[in-house]
Symmetry: C2
Subunit: 333 residues, 2 copies
DNA sequence: TGTTAGCACTCAACAAAAGAGAGTGCTAAC
DNA sequence: GTTAGCACTCTCTTTTGTTGAGTGCTAACA
C-alpha cells in the first residue's frame, strides 16, 4: 500500500500526525484528499495507523511500523557515506574502543546508542604464567587466544622457590593450554591439583582466579552514548517519559535483556524491536535496532541504536551494518 | 543574620521563593512579617537574596549560598546514619568499585554523583616480566606498588631465546625496580638500552609500552551515576536545562576540569562550587560538592555530588566525608 | 530607634471563554 | 473508483478576568 508508506515516511520526518491533505499534496500519487481519507479509514481498521484524537491526522501504530520495516524500506536511500570512513582506530584498550564506537553511532545518527562488550565464548587458554611479585603475592597472568590478557594477584603464605614456580608453570601450561575456558570443570581441576602435589592448594587458587578473571568481567558490560539525544524528539522529551527513558539507558536493565536475547539466539542479522515488541514496559515509546558483531573466535557482542519509533530505519540499518562490518574486520587483520 | 539562614533553610526544602510571612510564622524569631520585609530589603541590597520577580518571595543568590555554606551550616544536622554501614566491599576490580560508589552516592543523596579514578602519582615500579606468549608476541607485565598490574603485548620479529628473555628480565628489574613512573625519562631509557645490547630496540619498545600502559589509562576517567535525579528538582527539569545538564554529565567536560583543579591544588577537604563559581557556563544552575580521597601512596581521586543549588549541603557534606573516609581506609588494611 | 499594623499596588498563575485551523466522515455527483 | 462540498469535532492558541501571595511605604506605637 503506497499510502501507508507515504504516511510513515512523512511521519518519520515531521513527528506530527499526518492528514489526508498532506499526502494528497506532497506525493506523486495524484489522489485527492478524499480518496486518501477513504484509504486511511481502511488502514485504521487494519490497525496499521491510528488517530491520537478525532480531528487529528494519523500516526503509524507499532504494527504499521512493522510492515514498513519488513516490506517497504528502501535500501537504496541509505545515507551512509558520511560515516563510511569512520576509521575505527585499533585502540589500545577494548573499553575505549567500544565507548568510542558508541559515541560515533550516537553522533552519526542523532539517536542513543549502545554496544555490549563481546562475550568470550569458546575462548581458549594460550599461556599461563605465575610469578612471585613480592614475598606475599603471586601474580597469575593468563593469556587467551585473541590475546586477551587477564591477571590476578594471589596471596600466598610463604614465598615459593624458583624451582617450584618453574614446575607449576610447566604443569599449568601443559594441562591447560588450548583448553576452552568453559571446559574447566571440577574433574579437570582435580586432576591438575593431584599433579601439583604440595602445591595443590595454590593451584586450586590459581585456577579459581583464572576462572574468576575470565568470566564475570566483561560479562554484560554495556556502553551507551548520546542518551540526551532523546530530547531532540518532542514526543519523548516530555518530563515523565524522558526521565524513564534516561533512567533505563543509565541502568541498562532493558538493554541487558535485549542483548542477552540477541546473544542467545542464533540470528545474526539486523533485528528491529518496535515499541512493545521488546517486552519492556519502559521501551514502549522507543524502537531499538540491533545487530551482532563478531570479533572472531566466538567473541560476539551486540550493538544497537535506541530511538523514537519514528526513527529513520533505513539510515540506522545502514549505519549499523557498516559498523558491525567494521568491527568484524577489526581483529581479522 | 538569622533571617538569611531561615530563608535559605526554607528554600532548600521547598524550592519555592520564600516570603516574609512564612519566615515570621515558621521560625522562633518572633518577628512580624513587616520586620522581616525590612530585613529582606537589606539582604537584597547586600546581594545575598533576590526576587525572581516583583511580588514573589526571595531566593538566595550564589553569594547567599556561599555565606550559608561557609558560616551557617549546622554540622550536627548530618543525617548520615542511613549510609553509615554502606560496606564498600573490596571489589575485585577498581572500576566496578568506583561505579558502585557513584551509585551509592546517587541513591543516598538523590542527586547526581561523580567519582574520578585515582591518578597514579609517584607510583613505583615493583616488578617487570617479559614472557614469550607466542612466536610473534612478547607479553610485558608491569606491577606497581599498590599491586596495580598493567600489561602490554609487544610484537617481535623473531622469537627470543630463553636466555635472552632471562637476561632482559634481569636487566629491566634491576634498572627499573623502585623507580617512580614519572622518573622514567630519556636519559634513563638510553642507559638501559645501552646495556641491552642487541635487544636495544626491544627494550625501547618495552619501556614505551610500560609508560603507555601506565599513563593514559585511568587518566581522567570519571564515573557518574544518578544523572536522572536532576528531574527531581523542578527548577532544573525544564527541557532546555535538563538537556544541557545531562549532556554535561554524560560528556564529563566540566566535571573533568573540576577534578583536575582539585587534584592540582593542595587542598584536600570539602570544596563547594556554587553556580558560576565553577567557571562552567553549563553549571550555572548547579552546585558541585567535592572532596578528595586517598588510596595511599599518592593514589588520589576526587568524588563529588552534583545537584541543584538548593541542595542539602549539610547532608551532602556529611555523606561525602563518610565516603572519602571509607575509601581512604579501603586499601590501608 | 526598632517594631508593627494597615493599605494600595504589582504581578505570576490559574481558569474560563472565544476563536482559529486542521482534519474527519458522510453524502452526492462525476 | 474518484472527487467536491459541507457540517462537525476537537485541539491549540489567544484573550480576558480573577485570585492571591507578596511587596513597599506610611503612620502609629513602645
Amino acid at each position: 500500500m503506497k499510502i501507508l508508506q507515504a504516511i510513515i515516511r512523512n511521519y518519520l520526518e515531521t513527528g506530527e500526525p499526518v492528514g489526508s491533505r498532506t499526502i494528497s499534496k506532497y506525493t506523486d500519487l495524484n489522489l485527492s484528499s478524499a480518496t486518501i481519507r477513504n484509504e486511511m479509514s481502511d488502514l485504521e481498521e487494519m490497525g496499521l495507523i491510528k488517530q491520537p484524537h478525532t480531528s487529528a491526522g494519523r500516526i503509524p501504530t507499532d504494527a504499521g511500523y512493522r510492515i514498513y520495516v519488513d516490506h517497504m524500506m528502501d535500501d537504496s536511500r541509505r545515507e551512509v557515506e558520511e560515516m563510511k570512513n569512520l576509521l575505527v582506530d585499533k585502540e589500545e584498550r577494548l573499553e575505549n574502543l567500544l565507548q568510542q564506537v558508541a559515541k560515533l553511532l550516537a553522533d552519526g545518527t542523532q539517536y542513543a546508542s549502545m554496544i555490549s562488550a563481546p562475550t568470550v565464548q569458546g575462548n581458549k587458554i594460550k599461556f599461563i604464567q605465575l610469578s612471585q611479585v613480592d614475598p606475599e603475592n603471586i601474580l597469575a597472568v593468563i593469556v587467551l587466544e585473541k590475546n586477551l590478557v587477564r591477571n590476578s594477584l594471589i596471596p600466598v603464605k610463604e614465598e615459593l622457590t624458583q624451582e617450584a614456580l618453574l614446575m607449576l608453570n610447566m604443569l599449568l601450561n601443559t594441562s591447560l593450554n588450548g583448553v576452552p575456558v568453559e571446559q574447566i570443570n571440577l574433574g579437570l581441576i582435580a586432576a591438575i591439583k593431584k599433579k601439583a602435589g604440595v602445591y595443590e592448594e595454590l593451584v586450586g587458587d590459581v585456577i579459581d582466579a583464572a576462572a574468576e578473571a575470565i568470566k564475570p568481567d566483561d560479562d554484560l558490560k554495556i556502553y551507551t552514548s548520546g542518551a540526551t539525544n532523546i530530547f531532540r524528539y518532542p514526543e519523548l522529551a516530555d518530563h515523565q517519559k524522558a526521565r524513564e527513558i534516561l533512567l533505563e539507558i543509565e541502568e541498562k536493565g532493558a538493554l541487558g535483556s535485549i542483548v542477552q536475547e540477541r546473544l542467545a539466539g542464533e540470528e545474526t542479522g539486523i533485528q528491529v524491536y518496535i515499541g512493545t515488541e521488546s517486552q519492556q514496559e519502559s521501551m514502549k515509546d522507543l524502537s531499538v535496532v540491533t545487530t551482532t558483531y563478531d570479533l572472531g573466535d566466538g567473541m560476539k557482542g551486540t550493538v544497537g541504536i535506541i530511538g523514537p519509533k519514528r526513527m529513520d530505519y533505513d539510515k540506522v540499518v545502514g549505519i549499523l551494518k557498516d559498523i558491525a562490518h567494521n568491527l568484524d574486520d577489526l581483529y581479522k587483520t
